[in-house]
C-alpha cells in the first residue's frame, strides 16, 4: 500500500523532474497580453485544467492501468497510448515538451524505482510522453489510479500558477487562494480522467485548446525566454 507521503512526494514541484522550468504555456499567454492579472490567470488555469489537464491525467491513469497487472502486451499497450497522445498533441512544440519532461521524469524514476516497468515504454528517440512515464512511476510507488490522475491534473495547475507569480509579480497568497478555489475542479478532473482510463485508447479524452497550440509554437521561436514551455 502506498503511504500518503509517497503521494505528496510525487506531487511535489521539488521532485527532481524539472517541472519548475515549465510555465505550461503561461509565458506565451502573458506575452500575448492574454493573461495580465489574477482574474485572467484563474481563467487560464481553469481552461488548462479542462483541456491539457484532463488529457494528461487520463493518459497517466491509462498508463498506470497498463502497468499494474503483470499483463502480456504491456509494451503494445504503452506504444498505442504513445501514438494516441501524439494524435491529441497537434503542436510539435508541445509534443517535444511532453517527451522532454518524460525523459526528465524517467531519469528520476529509474534511479528511485529500478524495478518499475520502464523498459516497456516505446523506444522513441526523443523519449516517451510525460503522462506515460508518470503512470508507470506512480504504479511503481504503489499509488492508485485516482492518485495518479490527481498528481497529473494538479501538476498542470501548480506549474502554471507558480510561473504566474514570477511572470506577473502577482501576490503569492492570492495565487494560492486561487488554487484552493480550483481544488474541487482539480479533483473532479482527476476522477473523470481515472474513470476514462477504462475506455479503449481511441476514446480517451481529447480536449483541445487552439490557443495552447498557437502559443506553444510562438513561444518555441523565441530566442530568450524564462521558461522552457
Amino acid at each position: 500500500m502506498a503511504t500518503p507521503s509517497l503521494l505528496l512526494l510525487l506531487a511535489d514541484g521539488r521532485f527532481p523532474a524539472g517541472a519548475h522550468a515549465h510555465s505550461g504555456g503561461l509565458e506565451a499567454a502573458v506575452a500575448a497580453g492574454r493573461v495580465t492579472d489574477l482574474a485572467t490567470l484563474e481563467a487560464f488555469l481553469a481552461g488548462r485544467l479542462a483541456t491539457a489537464g484532463l488529457v494528461g491525467a487520463a493518459f497517466a491513469a491509462a498508463a498506470h492501468r497498463a502497468a499494474v497487472p503483470e499483463t502480456v502486451g504491456r509494451a503494445d499497450a504503452l506504444a498505442r497510448l504513445d501514438a494516441e497522445l501524439d494524435a491529441r498533441t497537434a503542436a510539435p512544440a508541445l509534443r517535444a515538451v511532453s517527451r522532454r519532461q518524460g525523459r526528465a521524469l524517467l531519469r528520476a524514476g529509474r534511479a528511485i524505482w529500478p524495478d518499475a516497468a520502464f523498459a516497456d515504454l516505446p523506444a522513441t528517440p526523443t523519449g516517451a510522453h510525460q503522462p506515460l512515464v508518470l503512470g508507470l512511476l506512480c504504479a511503481a510507488a504503489g499509488l492508485s489510479r485516482l492518485e495518479t490522475a490527481t498528481i497529473a491534473a494538479y501538476g498542470t495547475l501548480t506549474g502554471a500558477a507558480s510561473a504566474g507569480v514570477r511572470l506577473l509579480g502577482l501576490d503569492p497568497y492570492r495565487v494560492q487562494a486561487l488554487l484552493v478555489g480550483l481544488a474541487d475542479a482539480c479533483d473532479g478532473t482527476a476522477a473523470d480522467a481515472a474513470r476514462a482510463a477504462d475506455d479503449p485508447p481511441e476514446r480517451l479524452p481529447a480536449a483541445a485548446a487552439p490557443l495552447a497550440d498557437i502559443h506553444a509554437e510562438i513561444h518555441a521561436t523565441w530566442e530568450v525566454r524564462l521558461f522552457a514551455s
Binding site: R34, A43, G47, A83, D86, E202, P205, P210, T221
Partner: protein, 238 residues
C-alpha cells in the same frame, strides 16, 4: 428528427468520379452540383434551420480508390435548443481509400444560445489517401453567449491515430472563453490537410493562427481563432 444520408463515390475509369450512391433524408439532403476538374461535388442542402436539440443526423461517406469528392453546404448550420435535456447530434463517418481524395468544406457551425450540440466526425484514411477537412465553429449568433457545443474529430491514417481533438465551448466547458483556450475569440476552427504526395512544411505560428505538422502521417493541421467568421475563413483557406 432523425436522418441518415450516404454518399459513395468510385473512380469512373476515365479520370473522373461517379457517385454510385447519393441519398439523404430531410433535413440532411445531398445534391450533386457540377463537377470541378474531375472532382465530384456534392452540396448538403436544408441544413439551415437547425439542428435542433433532439435531432440525430448521420452522414456516411465512402470514397473509393482513385475517386475524388468535394462536399460543401449551402448555408451555415445553426445548432438551436429543442426539447429540454435533449442534445442535437451530427455524426459524419468517412472512409477514404488509397489514391482517393475527400474535401470536406462545409459552411460554419453556429452554436446558438441554449443549444446542446455534438458534432462527431470519424475519418479513416488508407495509406495514400488525401484529405482536406475544415471545421469552423462560431460561438453564438451576433453578440450572443453560446450554449454547449462539442466538435469532436477522430482521424486515422493507415491504421494509425492521426488526429484526435474535441473542442468544447459553452457553460459546461470550464475556461473555454479564457486565455488558455479561445481567448474570447467568437470564431475558431481548423483545417486538416493530408497529402501523401508532398512533404509537410515545418510549424509556424503568428497572431492567432498556427500551421502544425502532425506526428501520425503526412498531414498538417491549421488551427486558428478569429474575431469573426470571415477572418476565420481567410485563416483556414490555404
Amino acid at each position: 428528427m432523425r436522418a441518415f444520408a450516404r454518399l459513395v463515390a468510385r473512380a469512373d475509369g476515365r479520370g473522373g468520379t461517379a457517385l454510385v450512391e447519393l441519398r439523404g433524408e430531410t433535413p440532411l439532403l445531398l445534391r450533386q452540383t457540377p463537377a470541378d476538374g474531375g472532382v465530384a461535388t456534392v452540396h448538403i442542402v436544408g441544413g439551415a434551420a437547425g439542428p435542433l436539440a433532439g435531432d440525430d443526423l448521420r452522414l456516411e461517406i465512402e470514397v473509393g480508390p482513385g475517386a475524388a469528392v468535394r462536399v460543401r453546404s449551402v448555408a451555415a448550420s445553426i445548432a438551436l435548443p429543442g426539447r429540454p435535456g435533449a442534445v442535437s447530434r451530427v455524426a459524419v463517418r468517412a472512409v477514404v481509400h488509397a489514391g482517393a481524395t475527400l474535401h470536406w468544406l462545409p459552411e460554419q457551425l453556429v452554436a446558438a444560445a441554449g443549444c446542446a450540440h455534438l458534432a462527431e466526425s470519424r475519418i479513416d484514411l488508407a495509406a495514400g489517401a488525401s484529405l482536406r477537412w475544415r471545421d469552423e465553429l462560431i460561438c453564438g449568433r451576433y453578440g450572443e453567449v453560446p450554449g454547449g457545443a462539442v466538435v469532436h474529430t477522430q482521424v486515422d491514417y493507415a491504421g494509425r491515430p492521426l488526429l484526435r481533438q474535441s473542442l468544447a465551448v459553452g457553460p459546461q466547458a470550464p475556461g473555454w472563453a479564457g486565455p488558455a483556450v479561445l481567448g474570447g475569440a467568437p470564431a475558431t476552427g481548423s483545417l486538416l490537410v493530408v497529402d501523401p504526395s508532398r512533404p509537410t512544411a515545418p510549424p509556424t505560428a503568428e497572431g492567432s493562427v498556427a500551421r502544425l505538422p502532425l506526428a501520425g502521417g503526412p498531414a498538417t493541421l491549421w488551427t486558428a481563432t478569429a474575431p469573426d467568421a470571415h477572418t476565420l475563413r481567410a485563416h483556414l483557406t490555404v
